[in-house]
């Protein structure tokens, strides 16, 4: 579903991604673990075409997205949901309107159908009561849930989540992680998460990748990772 080959990216001469390669099967839930500043967000932004690599290929569902024009990328992105670290909900719209926005843009649903769909997705993330509120009136965890519903509402084939647990307490962290996994399973979405939350990453991921200095230094199931001899990996999970 997602195949990344030899991805290189540097900013102002400073290399951030230095030959990242991996592939992810359809319907898999995978997490990229790594210390702060190792380029996890940069990697995720490449997968949705918000950054373009200096070198390398990113093939998603058979299309090399590094070759798409900006207009083609806009169309491609309808199939991809992106959950930002800070949620990035529109602060000038209510929760309901935030969810309705992608539907208004890309579907022909009637008002009533749209309202039903918004209600359905709010229910999926346990936020039924919050439709009329503004994002600024919600807690960080609630905003994440709403943003997750917004990312999925167009029926995304691929879901990208940038540090879904950062800034949340342990209980909320586990909640949002489990919600992400359950929704991915239910909708058959291929899900890529970045995190430095080791416990929740193992809890919900089929496979985990560890990024360091711009490369994948370990990958596999929880057992594979725990058995790794790489110094950083042992420190991270140990």
């Amino acid at each position: 579903m997602i195949r990344v080959e030899e991805l290189h990216k540097s900013f102002n001469g400073q290399s951030v991604l230095d030959g990242v390669s991996f592939s992810i099967e359809r319907g898999e839930v995978v997490t990229f673990l790594g210390l702060s500043g190792t380029g996890k967000s940069v990697l995720l932004l490449h997968l949705i075409g918000l950054l373009s690599p200096d070198r390398g290929r990113i093939v998603i569902d058979g299309t090399d997205i590094t070759r798409l024009s900006e207009r083609e990328l806009l169309a491609f992105r309808r199939q991809v949901g992106y959950l930002f670290q800070e949620s990035a909900l529109y602060d000038f719209m209510t929760v309901e309107d935030n969810l309705a926005f992608p539907l208004e843009e890309h579907t022909d649903l009637s008002d009533a159908q749209r309202r039903d769909k918004v209600r359905e997705y709010l229910a999926m993330v346990d936020m039924e009561g919050a439709g009329g509120r503004y994002p600024s009136e919600l807690s960080g965890g609630m905003r994440k849930r709403v943003a997750l519903a917004r990312a999925l509402i167009l029926g995304a084939k691929v879901l990208l989540c940038d540090e879904p647990t950062s800034g949340l307490d342990p209980v909320r962290s586990r909640d949002i992680s489990v919600v992400i996994r359950d929704l991915s399973r239910r909708t058959g979405t291929t899900t890529v998460i970045t995190s430095h939350d080791v416990a929740n990453s193992f809890r919900i991921s089929d496979r985990v990748f560890v990024l360091d200095k711009g490369r994948v230094v370990a990958q596999g199931t929880e057992d594979d990772i725990r058995g790794s001899q790489v110094e950083l990996v042992r420190e991270l999970v140990g």
Partner: protein, 256 residues
């Protein structure tokens, strides 16, 4: 070295600003204008600036009349106060004062809003949802400037003339009916439109500068403050300098 780098950066960001303007113009020319959002923005920008614009206009009309009274009485031509006030306001002061106030209120508001959206990734999020953020967030604001500012200028001119009227009639003792006819007769088509052409230019300039500064804001809440301040400063300089050039061009073209 530092000077060369600063110079290079300036050229670089001017280049980006021109490309950005091209994107905005591209959307507008392809008819991608979301009129419902434009209406909301016209209302918001108008309301933000209205009170100060009207206050400034009334005060400048009144002051023009006060000074006019002194000057005209020296030549024994008190009855020309009305013309002085009306022509000054319509040809010059209405557009420029309104544009300056509008930069500081509505322009700053727009830069700060877009800047906040930028640092909170709302602009990036728009892209991830397959929507062009220039079309959705920028074009409505810029088009709204082109509507709101001209409307404000007309209101400012009317209120300014009222300010002049109050002084002219109650202080200087020009008969009321006479003041009105003098005002109406003095303003010709060219007077009004030579001022009004400038207004559209200012509106485009303010919209462009503030949208650009806001849209490319980085660096958290500090960045929002910095970019907003830069936006307003550029607008002030841009409006004042371009006003001189435009005035000269208009005078050359129409001859008066």
């Amino acid at each position: 070295m530092a000077v060369i780098k600063a110079f290079g950066d300036t050229i670089g960001s001017f280049g980006r600003a021109v490309i950005f303007l091209g994107e905005i113009a591209g959307c507008i020319l392809r008819g991608k204008i979301r009129w419902r959002l434009v209406a909301e923005q016209v209302f918001e920008q108008g309301v933000q600036s209205l009170l100060i614009v009207l206050l400034a206009a009334f005060a400048s009309g009144a002051v023009l009349a006060m000074q006019g009274q002194v000057m005209m009485e020296r030549f024994g031509a008190k009855e020309f106060i009305a013309q002085l006030v009306a022509l000054s306001l319509v040809r010059e002061l209405g557009p420029i004062f309104t544009a300056l106030v509008f930069s500081g209120k509505s322009g700053a508001g727009m830069a700060a809003e877009l800047g906040t959206m930028s640092v909170n990734n709302q602009i990036a999020a728009t892209r991830t949802m397959g929507v062009d953020p220039v079309e959705f967030l920028v074009v409505p604001r810029v088009v709204a400037c082109l509507i709101a500012l001209p409307v404000l200028v007309v209101l400012a001119e009317i209120v300014g003339i009222l300010g002049g009227y109050v002084i002219g009639v109650y202080e200087a003792g020009v008969p009321s009916a006479y003041y009105w006819t003098q005002t109406i007769n003095s303003i010709g088509f060219v007077d009004f439109f030579s001022g009004f052409i400038k207004v559209f230019f200012f509106a485009g300039l303010i919209g462009w500068v503030c949208a650009f500064q806001g849209f490319f804001t980085g660096g958290g809440s500090l960045g929002v403050g910095r970019h907003t301040t830069i936006a307003v400063a550029f607008c002030y300089v841009g409006v004042i300098v371009s006003n001189t050039v435009l005035t000269k061009m208009i005078l050359m073209f129409w001859g008066y």
